[in-house]
Symmetry: D2
Subunit: 364 residues, 4 copies
């Protein structure tokens, strides 16, 4: 497993298991001169923390981030930024009930076969807790994006059968417990989640992410297309099973006439009349909003009885008890934003030497 680094120019290397001593990230390639503080990162990190509502685990993860390097007098120095969050809730409960049994929908079985050994406490490295490092990296990436006018914003588009109505879109709700920017949909989703919990079951949903302010030119044909890299970034988050850009899967049923976006000139600015492309043409950002959606599966940890096998292959059953969210979606919103932000910073850097004129701007 050497897959714990993401990014080419702006890189995060994450580490840590759910119930180890700590979890953290090294951010490398952050330019010097970015103002940064633990408080700012903490705010960002708090968006993924559990215990925010009835629908997220009651584990008390205070998740205090600490900067260990790379920042001097509150500015980045260009050296790697190491950040750590100590695991305070490594509860000492007995895991022997799951140490030898493969939980359905989890990575227990695949890790065991790949590595011959497995840290079974709370999912180990395959736990959602792994995303702490991604979110810290995203917080830092966002600081750079803001300096050039780019904003990344994601929200819950649907939970189970309940979907937002864009007519009711209310930005002020973006930080509510379910991250649903539509009061009515939010209320309905709460009800659906309560029902699911009563049934010892869980729900899935869709996150939508919008990037505003991206300049034309981000993305490198042909394998590092912006959409290709965004896909990898988002699909690398556990539990995500699908990703689409712009009209996404709908394009399969559209005609060229309907799907093509006309170009127009508004007061001297070239732009598209529509945005079926989702802000990316030929793998390169086209100046429009970048729009993507991803589908998240229902929490695999459910309290109902499920059939499975143990390490020795004996068939058995399991009920995954303990404190588990009945829905992953709301807490994943900031993780999606983070992976998108990191990918965009990387693309920004790569694009700086796309043509000779840019190079001369720096060196002459």
């Amino acid at each position: 497993m050497a897959g714990n680094t993401y990014g080419k120019n702006f890189k995060i290397t994450t580490w840590g298991e759910s119930h180890g001593k700590a979890i953290g990230v090294v951010v490398d390639g952050c330019p010097a001169g970015v103002e940064i503080s633990e408080d700012y990162i903490q705010e960002y990190l708090d968006l993924r923390k559990p215990g925010q509502s009835d629908f997220s685990t009651s584990r008390k993860e205070s998740d205090k981030v600490e900067i260990l390097s790379g920042v001097f007098e509150e500015k980045t120095t260009g050296t790697p930024i190491s950040l750590i969050v100590k695991n305070q809730d490594q509860n000492s409960r007995d895991y022997s009930d799951i140490s030898d049994i493969y939980r359905p929908g989890h990575a227990d079985y695949t890790y065991e076969k790949k590595y011959d050994v497995r840290d079974y406490r709370g999912g180990g490295r395959a736990s959602g807790r792994e995303t702490v490092g991604r979110v810290i990296g995203g917080a830092i990436a966002s600081l750079i994006l803001r300096e050039v006018g780019i904003e990344v914003s994601a929200y819950t588009k649907s939970i189970g059968d309940i979907e937002i109505n864009y007519d009711n879109f209310d930005e002020s709700l973006l930080t509510n417990a379910l991250r649903i920017p539509d009061a009515e949909a939010s209320a309905n989703a709460e009800k659906a989640l309560k029902d699911a919990m009563e049934n010892k079951d869980s729900l899935g949903g869709v996150i939508e992410c919008i990037v505003t302010g991206a300049p034309v030119g981000l993305g490198e044909p042909c394998f590092d297309k912006l959409d290709a890299n965004l896909s990898k970034a988002v699909m690398s988050i556990g539990a995500i099973k699908g990703l689409e850009i712009g009209d996404g899967f709908e394009v399969a049923k559209m005609t060229g006439t309907a799907n093509n976006d006309s170009f127009k000139n508004s007061n001297g600015e070239i732009s598209k009349a529509t945005n079926h492309s989702g802000g990316i043409l030929g793998g390169i950002s086209d100046g429009d909003d970048i729009v993507m959606r991803c589908a998240i599966k229902p929490t695999p940890s459910i309290a109902s009885e499920q059939k499975t096998v143990d390490k020795d292959g004996n068939e058995t059953t399991i009920k995954v008890t303990g404190r588990h969210d009945p829905i992953i979606v709301p807490r994943a919103v900031v993780v999606v934003e983070s992976m998108v932000a990191i990918t965009l910073v990387d693309a920004l850097f790569e694009n700086m030497h796309a043509n000779l004129e840019n190079i001369k701007k720096i060196y002459k």
Copy 2:
């Protein structure tokens, strides 16, 4: 643009424009000892060639592949394999009609803004012709996969509103003109395409890809998860706007009970009772069939009049005439297979040193 290499251990570097002298690929990291011939690659390559039906362009691209290096006495030597296909149909037509106008749905505008210069002849590097190198790479990757019992197979799942019925699935149809393994759906799709052509329009569709025989253990947490890498691989193909694994976007509406796959023991072999996961758990192949689908947009080159602007920002209209497929899907089937095959070979290699026992198998 330094994004023309794909893969970490098994790498393809593709090059070439639609109307340049030639197009090609360098395959690096192919192990020594693989039997290979131009005839074999040619067969594979012919699957993407145009002129196979009424629904693909009548351009005569004989597309003869030539091996220039890396093969000695019909076996790979471990050195880079350079393969070239000369562009025989660089027709000398006048491109001045499109040299200054941005075609909707194409990369003309984004390339121009990114690079300040653009090879406008037939789309240049952004042409679908770029996929020649991918398919050659995929042909070679498939040879390695076969040696270890892995098979990659893709087909057209839908075109516009017409979708295959799995009850009618007929493998013998996998190489028909539309790559639709269902005779009835195929006939209906042909009719729909004829209608689209008459309307000077085009259609999109969905490709499904199945991998059989993959061992448990492929994929590297946390950023190089197998699904993340497959997503990047497939989403890097032009015109693809969405990608899903297993139940994909459907998971958003499923409950945990329905989505989790139980484990069972069949005659001493652990396996899953269902395959909602699409063969990947926690980013690692779980031994089951790997299942993915992608959505392809309708061909953007359509003969109806579209609004657009020219280089100077003047609003104008364009009809994209010439020989263009009304559907991209069938020719993209082998491209999807190829990108998946390359990604799997890379994952196979990476997984070889996942645990100490494997390393000792080679060095002791």
Copy 3:
């Protein structure tokens, strides 16, 4: 600066400044199943620690390493291993005397110009303290090498004008204060160093590194030749100004007859009669001992007065006082070993898929 990760398959990402809160490393790509303990790493790390003799700084760096992730029940799990060493001796002395002045022979000036900002406390990231992470990584790499019979051993070959006499080579001296495996040379070097210190001056030297037990086949032509990668590995250590393999710079004055190594057959084993090549032919290990040497400059921190300029360009003078080793060489020995060990593990992994037979050994 995104250059803080080294390795392709076995990777270290180091972080931390001389006088920050801590310094550390994330080791990614370590196979599962390697037995490991903090005690073992500590022993390795202690070899670079200061305060071991009259010739190394009296700073009390207890340098206690702590494993934060990736190890479960004393075995690696295949997940990233995060290791941290807290900086206990962040002495609170006033650095204002050097905060605005560029020390000759140091990176002060270049960091300032590149980043516009600089952590001037003790050299910041450019301090030799940065090598802590390399040594920890090397300790772990060595565990893997041992499993396949490879041993890496370095020592001081010369300090100033004093060079070891191979006739006096005494392995038992490899861990003496100066790492000189020749008692007489060691005594002479001690005297030379005392003289240098009295003169407020410092000395340089040469480290030689020998790898035994490496199989034929390590190294990937043409750019990832084993010697090329070893060169980068060693030359990336601060203060090293030259690197040679086998006969090294001597080859420039040799004839082909003298430099070529004949092959012979000893009891059925092919080997070379001599080892001018230093164990590498065509960039690939040839089964013989791998031999390399590197030159280390004299410590740039010297107490004599030197001319320099301040941040504003004013000419001034500086005496670098404080606790500084008059020689870097002995403490760098284990750093060289570490970088070589990491490079070899990476090459071992890469070579596993050099030919089809190896691949079948794992997957069939």
Copy 4:
């Protein structure tokens, strides 16, 4: 072997064997807008071509380079530039004499063991002919360097015992047959080479390379230090056994007082009073000339009888007849320049996002 790509942002991927159909390179990451022509590259390439003097092989390699992609209307477009040189002198001589015998000093044995198969014709991929792709890449890199005022210049510093006298340095001789910029040394070297040839022997030598005009700031601590990357670049050239920067191996015998370079202020410009550092401090270019030297071994192909073994391990002898240079050095001069140029372009690009101010220059 996946080691045929060099560079991170500006990349070359080379391919081809000595006696295959052709040899070539794909240059990826070249910015758009660079004026380029086959004639220019040809001129550069001609500097490494054989048959230039009595001391290089009489093989007639016309080595005509052809651009196949990435250039439109004589300017780079940002897409990969594929360049090819057909092998015209694939003479059909019988290689069966060396197909089963390992030539001393060559890669025959190591390739055979690593890959189980070997293209024995003329050394295959391990031939010096592999450098054609490097030189083409270097020619293109040099175009970019010139745009920002950087010049790379190498020459023969010594052949055997004969070394240039800097007092006689004559730039006009830089393109003489032996690339020795000192008329007297050149004459002496010619004589020494004639003697070596008469003795059926060969000579080695040293190349020195100077970079002028490099700005302060190139190189990324800590593993991608400029000197580390230059070392890898140069040491990856076959036959090079040592590399040094600035005072190089001499530093081992210097004191800190002698080795440190003072800073001074000349008319408002900070610079160093001396250049022992060779233009690099802390892994970052310091604004001074970058100075390095490398040692090249004597040509291993010699006509005198040498002991060796065959494939089956039988001891035997070999005389390597045919057309071989008695010295590699002069033809390697342009190869060294090329690898240095490519490394510098890569460093230039990487440095563009070292601090926030630079990023704003491009995006605001």
